[in-house]
């Protein structure tokens, strides 16, 4: 498709989207640093993107037909929307780049050596089922949904047009109000949005790209602390301002997804960790925090070393993610004094 036709198709798509009640002003899709993304047409003017609630597509209401994403039940959408959605997915999202890049990533992940699979599973980074899956279309669709979905009114939904925006941890997240989900503002270059709180390693394994995330969370770990065994459940704690949940079971202590690094607020990780353990007998929270950091570092270094002699695109990308994770979890110093 030549440039003129591309522009015409894009303008038609956007006009139709507006006709259904959506908003997309001053935006165009093109190739950028992060693959296909949305850019302002005139970067001196504000961008406005809005997907109203009635155009959000529930993730359990889509399926593959002849390798194209279609809406299963069209009854709740404006007339013609499901056809528009099929064209949108085929030409600008799933069919444009997403399917191919997810397929490549999943195949790469499946092809990793068994010892790397074991390490990733042990640390809670990749679930066993995902590695044992094939890179067939239905599984690729599941991954596509996992990287695009958002929770809205207790439902997982996809956001037409807005899902084309790429991620940056430095940007604001989507705005959500009674009218739907939106992105607005002036952008000198690519329009970017923060998908969610994450860290480099989890972002890479969930989304397939490397990013200098500003937070660092723990991996799955077992730490011997004085006479106690402390289990750390790894993963992302989306509530960045709350202490991690702690549960006690006999002599076993379980800490749920503690944040251990934050480049923007380096005093917060230790502060929240200590708050979470207040009143837990037999724990030196400061020392345990250090131990959790130590064990994370050693686990990541061990993974990097195992990747060092292997070859292949995914291995070098995974190694980069590990290195970025080391930096992300390194951002913790001091603590905040909490007023009584």
């Amino acid at each position: 498709m030549d440039h003129h036709n591309k522009t015409m198709h894009w303008n038609t798509l956007i006009d139709e989207f507006r006709g259904f009640g959506g908003t997309a002003e001053n935006v165009v899709q093109r190739e950028g640093e992060f693959g296909l993304g949305l850019f302002p047409i005139d970067n001196s003017q504000p961008v406005e993107l809005r997907a109203p609630d009635h155009l959000l597509v529930s993730t359990d209401n889509i399926e593959l037909q002849d390798n194209e994403i279609v809406i299963k039940d069209e009854s709740q959408y404006p007339a013609g929307f499901s056809d528009w959605y099929r064209q949108f997915q085929a030409n600008y999202s799933w069919g444009a780049e997403a399917k191919r890049s997810i397929e490549t990533f999943e195949k790469g992940l499946i092809s990793l050596p068994a010892n790397i699979h074991q390490l990733l599973e042990k640390r809670g980074l990749v679930l066993e089922g995902r590695i044992n899956n094939s890179a067939e279309a239905p599984n690729i669709l599941k991954r596509f949904i996992a990287t695009r979905r958002i929770k809205r009114n207790n439902k997982n939904v996809l956001m037409p047009i807005i899902e084309l925006v790429n991620h940056s941890p430095q940007q604001r997240s989507w705005s959500m109000d009674e009218k739907g989900i939106s992105i607005t503002g002036t952008y000198s270059d690519e329009i970017l949005v923060r998908y969610s709180a994450c860290d480099p390693l989890h972002r890479f394994l969930q989304y397939g790209f490397n990013c200098n995330e500003i937070n660092g969370f723990s991996l799955n770990l077992k730490v011997n602390h004085h006479d106690k065994v402390v289990y750390i459940k790894g993963g992302i704690n989306h509530d960045l301002k709350k202490p991690p949940r702690v549960s006690l079971n006999d002599n076993k202590i379980i800490i749920d997804r503690p944040m251990i690094g934050s480049s923007k607020r380096p005093r917060i990780p230790r502060t929240l960790f200590k708050q979470a353990l207040e009143g837990v007998n037999g724990i030196d929270a400061d020392e345990l925090f250090d131990q959790v950091c130590q064990n994370n570092r050693l686990a990541i270094i061990s993974l990097i070393k195992q990747l060092d002699n292997a070859e292949g695109y995914i291995l070098s990308q995974l190694q980069t993610a590990c290195l970025q994770q080391l930096v992300a979890i390194g951002y913790h110093f001091g603590e905040k004094t909490i007023p009584d």
Binding site: Q291, Q294, L298, D308, T320, L326, V327, G334
Partner: protein, 348 residues
């Protein structure tokens, strides 16, 4: 390297000068050429008396051989023995070629890698291996890896300098009238050269070792409203508070210990102790800031090395990863030692 008969004849000569070398032979091992017990069930006895130690400024190269400049203080014939020793078993056997290959490898690293290493005080090619007189510069590097401080002199230890390093081994025994290594050795005879960490060991000696300590790189950082200058590198007195001084408005910290796998509570404790009398420093927070900056610098170096090929790049990568692992070993603090300190200052 000569035959077994030549080796034993050589040892006989060494003994005649007053040295001891019992139950040892040189051969190739996991760390290159090294010394091994002939009978592992029996003790090894290596001893170089003080009069056979050779000051580093009393050697030079003559026609490619390492020789003693002024033999007047040595036993008769020792100069000739030393020349043959260096030629057959040390400098000429592997020492020169390995040292040269390592220095050339470092110098051939991409400029981005070299610039990073220079910035954190790890390596400066212009100073270390300028290339104006390569043979002499290689010799200086060779000597750096073999010499030891003994009675205010830097000396080379013939025979003992053939022993390879292990951080888990005992140090040299310097309690008598010379330098000794003894005891039963299952496999290779190994000795702990000095206190160091994986990266400084690798840069100084050219080999990777899982050292139990972690020291800092060099950099400046902002701590509150203070500028802090951290001078990196290993310290001989690792388990004592590091030096710290105020220079104008800057705080200069000398070779802080950041990690110890054997005493993981000591590094933070020592920095807190060192900072006791400096105003405007939150020592615990500063300790973590120094860690954070080390991690950042090491990861940056690793990223630059990701696509660089060659043995030196691989050694450096391993050194950086081992360093990151070594630096992980710190948790908690020794409240008992800090309480002692504060009760002393209260009493004063």
């Amino acid at each position: 390297m000569g035959s077994a008969a030549e080796w034993h004849a050589f040892l006989d000569e060494f003994r005649a000068f007053g040295g001891r070398a019992e139950n040892v032979m040189q051969r190739k091992g996991a760390f290159g050429m090294g010394l091994f017990p002939i009978d592992p069930a029996k003790p090894v006895d290596l001893f170089v008396p003080d009069n056979l130690l050779v000051a580093v400024d009393n050697v030079h190269l003559v026609d490619g051989s390492l020789v003693i400049k002024d033999e007047s203080d040595c036993p008769e014939g020792y100069g000739d023995w030393f020349r043959r020793y260096q030629s057959a078993y040390s400098w000429g056997a592997e020492g020169r070629d390995n040292t040269k290959a390592f220095e050339e490898g470092l110098k051939a690293l991409p400029t981005t890698v070299q610039a990073l290493m220079k910035r954190v005080g790890l390596y400066n090619a212009e100073r270390r291996f300028p290339g104006a007189d390569p043979e002499k510069e290689v010799l200086q590097r060779f000597i750096q890896t073999r010499c030891i401080n003994r009675k205010q002199r830097r000396v080379i230890m013939p025979m003992i300098d053939l022993v390879n390093h292990s951080p888990a081994a005992k140090a040299y025994d310097m309690s008598g009238e010379g330098i000794a290594i003894g005891g039963i050795h299952d496999g290779e005879v190994l000795v702990k050269y000095s206190l160091s960490d994986p990266l400084w060991r690798m840069i100084s000696y050219g080999f990777n070792a899982p050292e139990p300590l972690g020291f800092s790189l060099s950099f400046r950082l902002k701590h509150g409203d203070r500028m802090v200058v951290v001078q990196g590198g290993g310290s001989r007195q690792a388990m004592k508070p590091c030096g710290i001084e105020l220079k104008e408005d800057r705080v200069v910290i000398q070779q802080p210990l950041l990690a110890s796998s054997i005493n993981p509570k000591m590094p933070r404790t020592l920095l807190i102790k060192a900072c006791r009398n400096i105003e405007g420093i939150a020592a615990s927070e500063l300790f973590e800031q120094i860690h954070q900056r080390n991690t950042q610098a090491l990861v940056q170096l690793l990223k630059e090395l990701q696509t660089v090929e060659g043995d030196t790049a691989q050694h450096l990568r391993t050194g950086c990863l081992d360093q990151l692992a070594a630096l992980s070993h710190h948790y908690g603090q020794r409240d008992d030692l800090l309480a002692d300190d504060s009760s002393q200052s209260d009493a004063a």
